[in-house]
Subunit: 392 residues, 2 copies
């Protein structure tokens, strides 16, 4: 087992009615004047924002609001939030939404608390030294940002999508009521399931040492998400299925599914980040569209692990490792299709030409200055090959 | 799935050499003068205490020490610690040891930080309102106290063994180097494995609703502990097996294996607490000695769950639930025997007479004022029946 650090200080309040505790939770964190940050009008339409505001108001906490966060959240909105928070002298940020809103809130929190341009932290030319506290009322199970240390922002001036990982941004609390996810369109729900699975799978696949207990937790989590993603196709109002998926979203990205493993791979996330930057695709769907091509390109470097995955997650009973590995890739691809997810870039609704593929690969390799992935270290040519394969 | 709270703020530093970070970790927590609390001379003999002191000294942190904590830690030692901390004006407590030392440290931390008699919190006549911060260098994988909110103390004046559960006592950090557990006698190692399993099993067995993802995590954890407990019988210096068991000890009792489940049972822990209070037995061994009698007494109230346990943990392929359930109980009992654990009170090395059984049952039921357990609510007569069965 590899040495590891594990730090998940987020206080989770999970279940029906949990959002009514929001005000109290902010008060416990010392919040006196807060920014309530959200995305589209759905939190207004469903009445959620009103309930949150009532809960905040009941605790005599002052607030300002900033909505309009979009999927693949924009740096321009982050700047707007930083300015507003500085002007209003807020001391806490409440994100009401999914990964995009939380990531935007984390970026604002860095920006308020540190001098200079917040984009530096995403370009990785500086690291943040502090952060305003952030709490979240979660409305989409997907990104896992509610317990993770990561935040991904798209620079709308340059189309670059970049992440910043730092424990300072771990949320103080996460309010998770699975009922709040019931109004999501099917496509968003199922994209979320893929995103959740990929957070575990990017930690699962590697060429090195792995922890047994972490592996069995990962496999159990994946089986649970697969089972409940199928249930939600037929029965989107199934509370227990929503709850299983929602809790899986946090466990999948809070670090648990990587403890003691060799470094994860994360190539698919990076391949998808470029797609997301260029075409504004739904993150989970973008991951589903690149994974099969990635897996078939790299599996030979980690046949045992892919074979174990096939057996433990899909109950594939094939003795020969290579055949089992390939059957596992087929099974996951078939599952993606079953939940109406794309399994290549075309099915994602994007025709990509050769020039665009070259641009994607060039950007993904940071202008040919880095490789991505660990199962196989992928250079700019490998990346181009995978994008090409995924576009057929 | 049931509503739940989950809060595990402990910073885990896991792996070889982790103890060398102790001083830095205390400094990050703001500790300036600390109590180093430990148990027997083994931490001195192995040189661990010296290395810890060096690490503390390197950060210019002042310290006082208090050793002599025994298994089933004593209230008298807690009082001694409180007095010492108050006199020396310490601001942080470092536990170097296993569950007993950590639990004693937590009790001292409550006592220093709250007025009045600390035993009140264990009698549950008051709740603590604050706590001095506690950190731990773990040397035994068993109690899970390094990430749990619980502390169990034995009042040596009355022979009562009582627990206090409160999030204030969650450790600030836990330093976990599996190598530090390699010097443990086999009996302590294997008792620890039982304790770890029971922390998950007491959350697993109930008559109500359960979370699927929590169930599969629990089952995976149990399979991992079973596998590695057997490895350590043959190969006690096996680093990976030590590491799997050590990480399982924390995950088993930090709340993860109960999220979304109906209330756990905990009857076996309470049955064992009385044994521990009367005879000073090793906690894990005491649990192994009462579990089979408990399981056969109550399983009919939760046949499905016991059957699922049998199939998922021991791969028992019996279709009929009741037969599968009984086969699972047999399998766990056989496993206890295989790792040289007692499966009844006699094998624990205790002859218990009828009068003592009556006393144990009377005390365990708090003088016939409470029932214990949830799979079956056990009154004083049920408790007596189980002790009797476990003494045959």
């Amino acid at each position: 087992m590899k040495n590891f650090l594990y730090y998940t200080p987020t206080r989770v309040v999970f279940g029906k009615g949990a959002e009514n505790d929001t005000g109290k939770l902010i008060k416990e964190c010392g919040g006196k004047k807060i920014l309530i940050h959200y995305g589209s009008g759905s939190v207004i339409r469903t009445g959620l924002l009103d309930r949150i505001i009532k809960s905040v108001h009941d605790e005599n906490i002052a607030f300002v609001t900033l909505g309009g966060v979009v999927p693949n959240p924009r740096l321009s909105k982050v700047y707007e939030g930083i300015e507003l928070c500085k002007k209003e002298k807020t001391d806490f940020i409440l994100a009401v939404g999914g990964g995009s809103v939380i990531d935007s809130a984390k970026a604002i929190a860095y920006g308020v608390s540190n001098e200079g341009d917040v984009w530096d932290f995403y370009k990785k030319t500086r690291v943040p030294s502090s952060s305003v506290p952030v709490g979240v009322v979660l409305t989409i199970a997907a990104a896992g940002s509610e317990m993770s240390n990561s935040s991904v922002i798209t620079n709308d001036a340059t189309s670059e999508k970049r992440g910043c990982n730092c424990d300072l941004s771990r949320c103080k609390f996460a309010v998770m009521n699975p009922e709040l996810t019931m109004t999501l369109p099917e496509y968003q729900t199922e994209s979320g399931c893929v995103d959740i699975m990929m957070h575990t799978m990017e930690r699962y696949f590697n060429c090195g040492e792995n922890s047994e207990i972490t592996s069995v937790i990962a496999e159990g989590l994946l089986r649970t998400v697969i089972k409940n993603a199928k249930i939600l196709l037929q029965d989107p109002l199934n509370y227990n299925a929503r709850a299983e998926i929602m809790w899986a979203s946090s466990l999948s990205h809070n670090g648990l599914t990587g403890c003691g493993n060799d470094a994860g791979d994360w190539a698919c996330h990076q391949l998808e980040h470029e797609l997301g930057g260029m075409f504004d695709v739904t993150h989970g769907a973008g991951l589903a569209a690149v994974w099969p091509a990635w897996a078939r390109y790299v599996y030979k470097n980690s046949v045992c692990r892919f074979a174990r995955f096939a057996r433990a997650v899909f109950n594939i009973d094939i003795e020969e490792d290579e055949k089992a590995a390939l059957a596992g890739i087929d099974a996951l691809e078939a599952f993606f299709r079953e939940i109406k997810m794309p399994t290549n870039i075309r099915e994602l609704g994007q025709e990509v030409n050769q020039g665009q593929i070259k641009t994607l690969a060039y950007n993904c390799s940071f202008k040919n200055t880095r490789t991505i992935g660990s199962v196989m270290k992928l250079n700019v040519q490998d990346i181009e090959n995978i994008y090409t394969q995924a576009s057929k």
